[in-house]
Symmetry: C2
Subunit: 150 residues, 2 copies
């Protein structure tokens, strides 16, 4: 089962977002866990690889189950661990192999094109303190079928 | 990949522990996530199944990667999500299929026989507020080989 970690980094009333080339959808930088890693190691490593920035004290804000369904059958399931962070070290990279990195003002974050469920996640990370739990069910072309939050 | 949830339930300076028959080791009640569940649904369902108690507002206290190694090779990897909770509803079951349930006074919890890494987890859940991240590497007969905490 795939496990993904990502982080919503806030600084100066902006969020660091990654515009991915496939659909021009925005997301939080991050990526797949490697075998034996814990989730905090994974998010720090992935964030550094994509941005050159070192996260300082990222905090877990969401644990999500993602289900991909086709014709009512589950074809894939994975987990995503979303952190939020307000402090970092380093200088943002000029080049990210995954897409374009962009500091986006708070008020513009939810207006960007993104997977529908990701708006819930960004909104939570920017505005709430507790950990959010949920299951997002998507079609294989990323139309949100259902959303269950706890 | 197997995903397990469990919960350290505190009440009246006691912890509800489960003594499992295989090694007579103590553990926190819990069990495997089912497809499509989020981790909070899973821990509430599993805890209820094993104890008849309904957890009220369980909070995530640990996210752990478990690695089983034989002769230096990883043969299995799974995730464990550990909650802590101070409130419940219902009456403890007379019979649990997984072992014997026992309310254990705080000061006795860490003296019980258990997997070595579980002492760290109980200690954290009883005494700390933040989320702990870590990787526990065991042999297939549950000797702790290494422990990495974040």
């Amino acid at each position: 089962m795939q496990r993904v970690t990502n982080c919503v980094l806030q600084s100066d009333n902006q969020i660091l977002m990654l515009k991915k080339p496939r659909r021009n959808w925005y997301a939080a930088p991050g990526g797949k866990m490697e075998p034996g890693e814990n989730i905090k190691q994974a998010v720090k490593r992935e964030f550094k690889e994509e941005t050159d920035l070192t996260l300082v004290d990222p905090e877990l804000k969401g644990v999500f189950t993602f289900v991909i369904q086709e014709d009512g059958e589950t074809v894939k399931e994975w987990m995503m661990f979303t952190f939020a962070c307000k402090k970092y070290e380093g200088k943002l990279t000029d080049y990210c192999r995954e897409g374009e990195l962009e500091w986006v003002p708070f008020q513009d974050v939810l207006t960007k094109d993104m997977a529908e469920g990701d708006k819930t996640i960004f909104d939570h990370c920017m505005n709430r303190d507790e950990v959010l739990y949920g299951t997002f069910t998507y079609t294989s072309d990323y139309q949100l079928l259902s959303l269950q939050l706890d």
